[in-house]
Amino acid sequence: MNLTPDAHIIFTAFGIPVNATIVNTWIVMALLTIVSMIVTWRLRPDAPPTRWRTALEVIVQGIEKQINEITRRPTGRLIYFVGTLFLFIAMSNLLLVVPGFEPPTASLSTTAALAFSVFIAVPAFGIARQGIGTYLKRYIEPSFVMLPFNIIGEFSRALALAVRLYGNIMSGAVIAAILLGVAPFFFPVVMDMLALLTGLIQAYIFAVLATVYIAATTEGDAKLTSKKEE
């Protein structure tokens, strides 16, 4: 039994093995993109909105509202990053119910990549908003002694994000696989239902934490970060 889809090689291209994580990620990407393209194709403001468009508007506005509640200011480009994080993780986790589909988020490589993107995005948004000097200055506050701890804190945050998501999704998939062997007719269904709920919650937590980290950096409010993590 494979604990991660990374070990499941689908095909090899140019000598590089393409595993199930990457292929499933493409599937999720294609699904999200195609649905978005179909719904927003020939979108006109004067035409009455369709059900699909309304559903997408509800999702996008919900994400925007959550970001606004955390950052207390207009979302700007943050919605592109945080919204994509949420939609990708949520869609991956929801596809857990499809037989044979291994969620990409069950791979530590995927969660690590997402955590790394957050790790990069935090200083990127902070520098874009405050300038590099002001951003770097916060690493030596309240004193120069705190520099190593602040750097360690940045890394640990990214690591915690990656492991939290990976652990939740992988455990759900593994537990479902184990129960499938023990009691193939009843427990997998219950566990899959629980996994759907857990997957959505994890997507929400991941996106919210990313927003909090970025918002804390751009506002320079360290207390907000610790408060949210609690």
């Binding site: 604990l3 991660t4 990374d6 590089i16 093995p17 595993n19 994580t21 990457i22 990620t25 493409w26 990407m29 999200l32 993109t33 978005s36 393209m37 927003t40 979108l43 403001p45 004067d46 909105p49 468009r53 997408l56 508007e57 996008v60 506005q61 925007e64 919605i79 592109y80 990053f81 919204g83 994509t84 939609l87 990708f88 990409p104 791979s107 530590l108 490589s109 995927t110 690590a112 990549a113 997402l114 790394f116 993107s117």
Partner: protein
């Protein structure tokens, strides 16, 4: 649990591509659409407000116009009613005047007819009385009556002296005409009375049965008579004069 660095790099790239794709096909169209729709809704709300305000103003103007028209209508109706009342009163007065005039004319006509009828009746009565009188007197007249009449004429002669004398200048004889033959005694007495006034003119007595009872003295151009006919003529003239005087008096009185 292992970390595949190739997969991490691939997932990082995949994630960045997904960010771009969703930005291109999801966030931008949806957010732009929402913004455009909000703008359009705001615009429509503003237009609706403007239209509502315009409609309110037009409604106010219309109501004002309506009130003005109602006031004018009331005024016109009042004027028309007053005019109609005046016209009715005027027509009523004219009609009343015409009725009064017609009534007065009718009464005048009736009065005139009554008066004419009364006058005709009087004239007919007078004529009947006259003809009856004439017939009675004619039937009752005789020589004795004529003798009395001659006696009356004889008594009036002195009053006619100057007239007789003036008429006798050119005449050669005088004639006394009666319808019955007078007695000789009467003739002699009358001749004597006559000759006291006109001495030179001989007096003859003649009888004419067609003449009215009475006596007529012809002397030259003068003709003095006292006959029943002349009495009746005088009575007739008096009656005509009397009736003629009464008619204008009554016409003037009506």
């Amino acid at each position: 649990m292992s970390i595949d660095w190739v997969t991490i790099a691939a997932q990082l790239v995949n994630f960045l591509i997904l960010v771009w794709l969703l930005k291109r096909f999801l966030y931008r169209p949806i957010l732009d659409g929402i913004d455009a729709r909000e703008t359009e809704i705001s615009q429509r709300v503003a237009e609706a407000k403007a239209a509502t305000e315009k409609a309110r103003l037009e409604e106010r103007a219309y109501r004002s116009e309506l009130e003005k028209l109602n006031a004018q209508k009331t005024q016109f109706l009042e004027a028309a009613r007053t005019q109609a009342t005046d016209e009715r009163e005027k027509l009523k007065a004219e009609t009343q005047k015409l009725i009064n005039a017609e009534r007065a004319n009718g009464q005048a006509e009736m009065t005139k007819m009554k008066e004419d009828y009364a006058a005709d009746l009087k004239a007919a009565g007078a004529g009947a009385i006259l003809s009856l009188t004439r017939k009675v007197l004619k039937d009752l007249s005789d020589a004795e009556l004529e003798e009395r009449i001659v006696a009356q004429l004889e008594g009036r002669l002195p009053g006619l002296g100057q007239e007789l004398q003036a008429s006798s200048g050119a005449s050669e004889k005088a004639v006394v005409l009666t319808s019955f033959a007078l007695p000789e005694k009467t003739r002699a007495r009358f001749t004597k009375s006559f000759h006291k006034l006109v001495a030179d003119v001989p007096l003859n007595f003649e009888t004419d049965k067609t003449q009215s009872p009475g006596v007529v003295l012809q002397l030259g151009g003068a003709r003095i008579g006292w006959t029943i006919e002349s009495y009746l003529d005088g009575l007739e003239g008096m009656l005509e004069k009397r009736l003629g005087m009464q008619a204008p008096h009554r016409n003037g009185g009506s």
